[in-house]
C-alpha cells in the first residue's frame, strides 16, 4: 500500500505513429489539488483519459488507489467533470443526477437526499425541475460538478472546469472546488488558465510534448524559474532601443510581437526610466505562473493549438 491516490511510473502512450506521453513519473498525495498544465497538444487529456481507463496505457505503471487504472472498480471512488458537456439533455436537473446515481448502484431513496444536498452545494436548488437545455453555461458546469459528487468520491478529476465561463461563474466554481478540498477531497485539474492553477493548485506539473518540464508549488515554480517582477513595455522601436532602456540594470528581456517583457528582482529603476518616455506604455506587475509557463513552453503560436 502506498499513501498516494495516484501514482505514475514510466507511463507511456503511443499511438500508431507517435508517442504522446513519453515516460512520465508523478505521485499525487491525498487531500491536495494537483494541477496538470500544458499547452494544447501537450498530452494533458491523454494523461487524464488513461487515468480514467478510457485509453489503454502503452507502457509503465499507472495506478489509482493502488490498482491499475484499467480496473474500473476504482471508479466508485472517483468523480469526473469532463470538459465536454455530456449531461442528458432530455432530463431535468434532478433526473440527471438520479440516473447517474443509478450507474453507481446507489439506491433511489439514498440518492434523493444526496441530490438535495448537491443541488444546494451547486447553487441549483431552485432549478431542480428545469430541463438541462434551459440552464446557462455556468449552471451546466456546476451541475456537472454536482453529478461528479453523487457517489461521494475521494478523488475528483476535472478537465478544464472553467473554460468558456464568465468571471462570476468561474469564481463560483473555484469557490466550490476549494470547499471540496477543505473537506479532504483530492482534486486533479487540467487547465491552461494559469490564474486558475495559481488559485487552486497545491502542486502542479507543466507538461509539453509528452514530458514533464517542471513540477512544484505555484510559488516555488515562480521563484525557481522567473524573476520576481515584470515590466511589459510597448512603444519601443527595436531591440537596440530596448537594450538602451535597460542599460546597466539587471534585467532579462523577452521580445514578443510589439511587447518587450522585462524581468528583474527589482524593477523600480526600469519603471522610473519608462515613466520619463511618454511614447512608451508599460505595465508593472509581480511575476506569475503564466510567466513560468511561457518561459518553459515558449511564446510561439503552435500549429496544433
Amino acid at each position: 500500500m502506498s499513501d498516494c491516490v495516484v501514482s505514475a511510473k514510466g507511463v507511456r502512450k503511443r499511438f500508431a505513429d507517435r508517442e504522446v506521453i513519453c515516460g512520465i513519473d508523478f505521485d499525487i498525495r491525498p487531500g491536495i489539488c494537483f494541477g496538470i498544465l500544458g499547452p494544447n497538444g501537450a498530452g494533458k487529456t491523454t494523461l487524464m483519459r488513461m487515468l480514467l481507463g478510457l485509453s489503454p496505457v502503452t507502457d509503465g505503471d499507472y495506478t489509482l488507489f493502488d490498482k491499475p487504472v484499467s480496473d474500473a472498480s476504482t471508479h466508485s471512488r472517483v468523480g469526473v467533470v469532463p470538459q465536454q458537456d455530456n449531461l442528458d439533455p432530455d432530463f431535468s436537473v434532478r433526473l440527471n443526477l438520479h440516473v447517474y446515481a443509478g450507474y453507481f448502484g446507489i439506491r433511489a431513496a439514498d440518492a434523493a437526499s444526496r441530490i438535495d444536498e448537491l443541488l444546494e452545494f451547486a447553487a441549483l436548488a431552485t432549478r431542480g425541475d428545469d430541463k438541462v437545455a434551459r440552464l446557462s453555461g455556468g449552471m451546466r458546469r456546476r451541475l456537472m460538478v454536482a453529478r461528479a459528487l453523487i457517489n461521494n468520491p475521494d478523488l475528483i478529476v476535472l478537465d478544464e472546469p472553467s473554460t468558456g465561463l464568465d468571471p462570476q461563474a468561474r469564481h463560483l466554481i473555484w469557490q466550490r472546488l476549494r470547499s471540496l478540498k477543505a473537506r479532504g477531497k483530492t482534486l486533479i485539474l487540467t487547465t491552461h488558465y494559469m490564474e486558475e492553477a495559481a488559485e487552486l493548485c497545491d502542486e502542479l506539473i507543466i507538461l509539453d510534448h509528452g514530458t514533464i518540464l517542471t513540477r512544484g508549488t505555484p510559488r516555488a515554480l515562480i521563484a525557481e524559474h522567473v524573476e520576481a517582477e515584470v515590466v511589459a513595455v510597448r512603444g519601443l522601436s527595436n531591440e537596440l532601443d530596448a537594450a538602451e532602456l535597460c542599460e546597466g540594470l539587471d534585467i532579462r528581456r523577452d521580445h514578443v510581437g510589439d511587447t518587450w517583457f522585462c524581468y528583474g528582482s527589482d524593477a523600480r529603476p526600469l519603471v522610473a526610466r519608462c515613466s520619463k518616455r511618454s511614447e512608451l506604455s508599460f505595465i508593472h506587475r509581480p511575476a506569475s505562473l503564466e510567466d513560468v509557463f511561457l518561459k518553459l513552453t515558449g511564446r510561439d503560436m503552435r500549429a496544433e493549438a
Binding site: L54, S76, D85, D88, D90, F91, L95, Y100, G102, Y103
Partner: protein, 258 residues
C-alpha cells in the same frame, strides 16, 4: 476483461436511462414505431387480401399480420441500435459519461441491446393487439408465446445494428444498412409471401437471414400453420443476438477506448 462478464445492475441502469427518456416522449415514439406497420396491415391486409384470399392455407390478413409483427420488431430494434444509439455514443457523450462510472463498455452495449429489444416488444405488443382486433390471430392458446419471441427478435437485430453503429462515421451510413440488409429481408424473408415461391438459390440464402427464422417461429404461434423446428429458429436468432453483442462490444471498445 471478458465481454461476457456483465453486472446485471449496470446493464439495468443503462436500460433504465433509455427507458426514462422514452417515458417522457412515449406518445410520439409509439406513433413512429407503430403507425407504419399498422398502415401496412390495413392497406395490404384488406386491399391485397381481398384479391388473394388465402395464402399457405390461412387468410391473408392472418398471414400478413404475423409477418408484419416480425418485420416491425426488426425495424424498431434496428432503428434504436443505429440512430438512437449513435446519438448517445457520438453526439451526446452519454456512453462516455457512463464510462466514467463503474459501468463498462460491454454493459453499455448489453443495456442498449436490451432496451432496443424492449422497444420491439412495446411496438410489437401494440401491433399484436390490433392484429387480434382485426381477427388476424387464429390461435390464442399459443399466441402469447409470440411476445417473448418478439423480444428475442429485437435482441437479434439490435446486436448487429449496434456493431454497425460502432463503426459508422455519421448518420448517413445507416442508409446503406437499411438498403443492403433491412429492406431485402423485409421483402425476401417470408413477410408477404411464402419463401418457396422464390428461386432455390435465394431460398437457401434466406435461410441464413434472421428475419426468415423470426417469421418461421412467430407465424405458427399466431395461426393454424404447423410449427416446425422451433429450436432451430430460436437458436439462429440467439446466435445473431450473441454474435452481434460480441462484435458490437469489440468495435465500440476500439472506437471509444483508444
Amino acid at each position: 476483461m471478458s465481454a461476457l462478464s456483465l453486472q446485471p445492475g449496470h446493464v439495468l441502469a443503462v436500460w433504465r436511462r433509455n427507458f426514462l427518456v422514452w417515458k417522457q416522449l412515449a406518445a410520439a415514439s409509439m406513433l413512429g414505431n407503430f403507425g407504419d406497420p399498422f398502415l401496412y396491415l390495413l392497406g395490404l391486409g384488406y386491399g391485397l387480401g381481398h384479391y388473394i384470399g388465402d395464402m399457405s392455407g390461412i387468410p391473408y390478413m392472418a398471414y400478413l399480420a404475423s409477418g408484419i409483427l416480425c418485420s416491425s420488431a426488426m425495424n424498431t430494434a434496428t432503428f434504436e441500435g443505429l440512430y438512437s444509439a449513435f446519438t448517445r455514443m457520438n453526439q451526446q457523450g452519454t456512453w462516455e459519461s457512463m464510462l466514467a462510472t463503474p459501468v463498462r463498455i460491454n454493459e453499455i452495449i448489453a443495456g442498449e441491446q436490451m432496451w432496443a429489444a424492449s422497444k420491439s416488444l412495446i411496438s410489437g405488443t401494440a401491433i399484436f393487439i390490433v392484429a387480434g382486433l382485426l381477427g388476424a390471430i387464429q390461435q390464442w392458446d399459443t399466441a402469447l408465446l409470440a411476445l417473448p419471441v418478439i423480444f428475442l427478435i429485437g435482441l437479434a437485430f439490435a446486436g448487429p445494428a449496434l456493431a454497425f453503429c460502432a463503426v459508422s462515421p455519421s448518420y448517413d451510413f445507416f442508409l446503406y444498412y437499411f438498403t443492403l440488409a433491412i429492406t431485402p429481408m423485409f421483402l425476401f424473408c417470408g413477410v408477404f409471401y411464402p419463401l418457396d415461391t422464390l428461386p432455390a438459390a435465394v431460398q437457401d440464402f434466406a435461410q441464413i437471414l434472421p428475419l426468415t427464422h423470426a417469421v418461421a417461429l412467430v407465424r405458427p404461434l399466431l395461426t393454424e400453420m404447423p410449427l416446425t423446428e422451433p429450436w432451430l429458429h430460436a437458436g439462429v436468432l440467439a446466435a445473431y443476438a450473441i454474435g452481434g453483442f460480441l462484435l458490437a462490444t469489440r468495435l465500440a471498445t476500439r472506437r471509444l477506448l483508444r
